[in-house]
């Protein structure tokens, strides 16, 4: 796969279709991969990498990159294409400056998951059937691939590329995922249990803004939390209120726009399951206003901008037992 991508990138640079390629470059370890803009075939050949650790969603970088001169090629995994469409819907990309290449994805792994599973001193990681084989300073360690996968990939919603200029590999299919299971589990709890669950999670937030800055839906020129005039400005949470406030507002601001790409949870240094907040909104929207997948097609109207006169649920539905 990686070789195919490198070849395609070099060809596109060579035939002048694009003058830059947005992809991933290898780091010091097997897993510390950095999104990178390559400007030459030499650079691509030397540093380009595509493996199980290339989880980063590159679509957000296109906001800035597509503003620049010339065309840029970008490799998009299926879930990244949803973000791409959503950004197009919101007029954030200069489409003419982008050459989008859809690439296959079998689920991505984070080194964090390996570390959390007690695998340290990692020198190399190889896939062996359904397992990952990690060569470590402390010997060979094996872990089932689906255990090592990011949560978002275990519950992958779609392997379908919804937008591309060119496809390497199959177009893919929308999957029947279990992504709402965790939300349902929380819904089944008592409010007290839910409160203490979220308090435990959110109180760990250090307000590093990684979730926000990585989020392809968070593209404000000036975030309300960075704006002293907004009334919710705060740099660090002093207490539980501010912890919750930040995440409620953020989830609300991306409600109807979040494609559930899962980057927020991937990057959270405190491992807060932030995607659950977004998924709750997605689930509620699906339940109340019909299935809606942000980014499925360009130009969709967000369910929060739309309404029906007769059939919309009243807010009292929440008091009457909630939305399930």
């Amino acid at each position: 796969m990686q070789d195919e991508l490198i070849k395609r990138a070099c060809d596109l640079l060579a035939d002048g279709t694009v003058n830059r390629v947005l992809g991933w470059s290898a780091g010091d370890f097997f897993y510390d991969i950095t999104p990178t803009v390559f400007e030459s075939a030499e650079d691509v050949k030397k540093n380009f990498v595509y493996n199980d650790f290339c989880g980063a969603n590159l679509s957000k970088y296109l906001i800035a990159e597509s503003q620049k001169e010339g065309k840029i090629a970008v490799f998009l995994k299926p879930c990244d294409t949803y973000s791409f469409n959503q950004l197009m819907t919101e007029h954030r990309l200069v489409r003419d400056h982008i050459y989008a290449i859809g690439i296959e994805c079998d689920g991505k792994v984070s080194a964090e998951t390996l570390h959390d599973a007690g695998i340290h001193g990692i020198l190399n990681v190889q896939k062996d059937g359904d397992e990952l084989v990690c060569q470590t300073v402390y010997g060979e360690k094996r872990i089932a691939f689906d255990k090592a996968e990011d949560e978002r990939c275990r519950n992958c919603k779609s392997r379908k590329h919804v937008v591309y200029d060119e496809l390497l590999g199959p177009e893919g299919e929308v999957l029947d995922s279990h992504r709402f299971d965790e939300v349902e589990k929380l819904e089944a709890m008592t409010p007290e249990e839910r409160f203490s669950f979220w308090q435990g999670e959110l109180s760990r937030c250090i307000r590093c803004n990684a979730c926000r800055n990585v989020c392809p839906a968070c593209t404000c020129e000036l975030c309300v939390f960075d704006n002293p005039k907004s009334g919710v400005f705060s740099k660090a949470a002093s207490n539980d209120f501010e912890d919750a406030n930040f995440h409620i507002i953020r989830a609300f601001h991306v409600a109807g726009r979040c494609t559930d790409c899962g980057e927020c949870s991937r990057v959270c240094p405190e491992h807060i399951p932030l995607h659950l907040l977004n998924r709750k909104f997605i689930k509620d929207i699906d339940t109340l206003y019909g299935d809606y997948q942000a980014g499925e097609t360009e130009g969709q109207m967000s369910p929060l901008s739309a309404f029906t006169e007769q059939n919309d649920a009243e807010p009292s539905i929440v008091q009457k037992g909630g939305i399930h």
Binding site: Q67, T89, E90, H91, R92, T219, C220, E221, L222, C223, V224, N227, K229, S230, G231, H253, V254, M301, S302, L304, S305, A306
Partner: protein, 664 residues
């Protein structure tokens, strides 16, 4: 930091009885930013206003809080007062300590505490208030009247009299409306056509009035003073400019089975037709549902006989866009469909008719040439039963019943009874009623004549069932006063069916953004003080579209609406509402969510060049609000995640300051 003055009104004892107004003023003196506070018996009085104005001058106030009645009552008054001495009116806020405090709370301590809290919230808001100036927009000096009945005609004539151009859009081929279908009018029993047809002619001949007959309004854009209205001119297949109204085509037309709307389907007309002799414009129209040429491609007789070459089978619907400064809704009413009222057998027997049908049966220009003959066998009815309140004053809406009184039925039934008796004195007439309502000039006298002079049988009671049997209508009813059951063998039954708003009115209201009540009557801006204006600026109400009325009331309201229109059109420019949304282009990402929720289409996007901190430039798409179109609802402000979109006068920070103050 503002210098704020707080003025606490006693409102006589209305406030002072439950709120310690002096304590409120004293508390205000301790609020940061407040430099002056006082109380007074009647702030809204001239001397109260002077007190405010003097204090503004004396203490150099930059903001004012008046603690008084609801802002819906006197906000304008006070804002005008401070504006008269040069303060921006939007630097004044009202703390509603009457309707929402002194009048709803009994305990003085509690009331005072709440009043102080409300005062503090208002101060917090003023602290963040910024002077707002309204933009000005020019006024298009042309009015649109939708509906060409007596209401629309009268409004149009009055506007035209004042020298302004006015267009009438009428969905039917002719103007005239319901009044043209009436025989006589109550309580004077003068001939309806004799009054209305000259009006129609006046309208048709007036240089200032243009009639778009057989047309509908399909879209309304813009705002007061600057509406852009799309009018659909339905295909008439006859060139209006060429047709002389000679009527030859209607004589020759072989297709004679089209129901005649003018006679409510009681007889038929030809496929090409002129609704009635006095129609304005007197132009033929081809009914595409019945025309053989249009449907089967054979015939073409009308075209052959038309010397004016006015027939055009290839005619299509056309849309035109016209600009108006004001719009008047005069869409009138319909007779409710009573076929669901099985007990009256309306659907079963042709001899059960509605009052309007009865009106046509009595009319000299009607299907029977003015001779009262019952539809089934064209025999003269000897016994007629009138049933009042069919569908009116009914709480159960499952059969389409209306909760309101249709207002005109009592009087026209008395009229029908008398007219019938006049022509055919031997007729037995029974009127079943719940109440007889006659509040109008000469109304009760009129009713009493029917009873006393004409011997009409008025029976308080309800008709339980009408059964057609052997050419008769067996009417079973109860007489509530005598407490007995009656059975009447009637020849005809006339139902005083409820009137309801024109079926197109709901759609029109949506286009006009005018509000309606649950019965689909247009809502007035204020039921007492602004009865002919809709809440949407620049949209006025004329006639029955606002609620049931008789003719003189309709004409009076039509004139009133016209005078409001004239008042508006006489202005060269209109000051807008400055409390509109605005977008901070430095923060806007151009995501378009705000435009998605804007009900007025007030938001557009432009690509703008911005200088970045590193001195490069970047082109960004940003939102722009048209302040003349924006009505200030604020939907966009919530949809904007960055808060780039904010609302003047109700800004995010102002509302949050109020929240803070009230939670303190």
């Amino acid at each position: 930091m503002q210098k704020i003055g707080v003025f606490v009104c006693h409102c006589g004892t209305n406030i002072a009885a439950t709120v310690d107004v002096e304590a409120v003023a004293e508390a205000a003196r301790h609020v940061p930013g407040v430099v002056y506070a006082t109380d007074y018996t009647y702030m809204c009085s001239q001397s109260g206003q002077d007190l405010i104005k003097d204090a503004v001058k004396k203490y150099g106030l930059t903001g004012v809080v008046v603690c008084s009645c609801s802002p819906r009552m006197h906000e304008k008054t006070f804002r005008k007062a401070v504006n008269s001495i040069g303060m921006n009116p939007y630097m004044l806020e009202i703390a509603n300590i009457r309707e929402q405090c002194s009048w709803v709370h009994k305990d003085k301590e509690v009331g005072t505490e709440k009043a102080i809290s409300l005062m503090k919230a208002a101060v917090a808001k003023v602290e963040l208030d910024a002077p707002l100036t309204a933009g000005e927009t020019p006024v298009v000096k042309r009015a649109l009247v939708i509906g060409g009945g007596i209401a629309g005609m009268q409004t149009a004539l009055d506007i035209a009299d004042a020298g302004y151009d006015v267009d009438i859009v009428e969905k039917n081929p002719t103007i005239g409306g319901k009044m043209a279908q009436l025989d006589k009018t109550f309580p004077t029993l003068d001939c309806s056509s004799c009054i209305v047809t000259p009006k129609m002619v006046d309208v048709g001949q007036n240089d200032k009035i243009h009639i778009y007959s057989y047309s509908e309004v399909t879209d309304v854009k813009g705002f007061v003073g600057n509406f852009k209205v799309t009018i659909k001119r339905k295909a008439r297949y006859v060139d209006e400019t060429k047709c002389t109204g000679c009527g030859l085509c209607t004589e020759k037309c072989p297709m004679k089975k089209a129901p005649n709307e003018f006679n409510l389907g009681l007889n038929n007309r030809t496929a090409i037709y002129i609704p009635f002799a006095q129609a304005v414009p007197k132009v033929a129209t081809i009914d595409p549902n019945y025309c053989l040429m249009l449907n089967k491609g054979v015939c073409g007789l009308c075209s052959k006989v038309c010397d004016a070459h006015a027939i055009n089978y290839k005619d299509t619907d056309k849309e035109i866009e016209v600009e108006y400064g004001a719009i008047v809704a005069a869409t009138g009413y319909e007779i409710m469909d009573v076929s669901k009222y099985d007990e009256y057998a309306y659907a079963q027997s042709p001899d059960v008719v509605t009052s309007l049908e009865y009106e046509r049966l009595m009319n000299a220009a009607g299907p029977t040439g003015g001779e009262l003959l019952r539809p089934s066998d064209h025999k003269r009815p000897k016994t007629i039963v009138f049933v009042q309140c069919v569908g009116s004053r009914e709480c159960d809406s499952t059969r389409g019943g209306k909760p309101y009184c249709s207002k005109i039925c009592c009087m026209y039934t008395a009229k029908h009874a008398m007219l019938t008796k006049d022509h055919y004195p031997d007729t037995d007439i029974y009127v079943f009623y719940i109440d007889v309502r006659t509040p109008g000039k000469n109304f009760d006298e009129f009713y009493r004549r029917a009873v006393e002079q004409y011997g009409v049988h008025y029976i308080k009671g309800a008709v339980g069932k009408v059964t057609p049997e052997n050419g008769k209508l067996i009417v079973q009813a109860s007489d509530l006063l005598m407490n007995e059951q009656l059975t009447i063998n009637a020849d005809m039954v006339v139902l005083a069916a409820a009137i309801e708003p024109s079926h197109s009115a709901r759609h029109l209201a949506t286009l006009l953004t005018a509000s309606m009540d649950t019965n689909d009557w247009f809502t007035e801006a204020h039921p007492k003080l602004r009865p002919v204006e809709s809440p949407t600026a620049g949209v006025f109400l004329s006639g029955v579209c606002q609620g049931p009325k008789d003719i003189p009331e309709t004409v009076a309201q039509a004139g009133a609406a016209a005078s409001k229109v004239i008042g508006l059109l006489s202005k060269d420019k209109l000051a807008g509402n400055p409390c509109v949304a605005h977008s901070d282009e430095m923060m806007c990402t151009g995501c378009s969510q705000c435009a998605d929720v804007c009900p007025y289409g007030a938001i557009t996007y432009v690509d703008k060049e911005f200088r970045m901190p590193d001195r490069t430039t970047k082109v960004r798409r940003v939102a722009e609000v048209n302040p003349a179109v924006c009505q200030g609802c604020g939907a966009c402000t919530v949809t904007c995640p960055s808060g780039a979109m904010d609302l003047n006068g109700f800004s995010n920070s102002e509302i949050m300051a109020e929240v803070d103050a009230l939670c303190r």
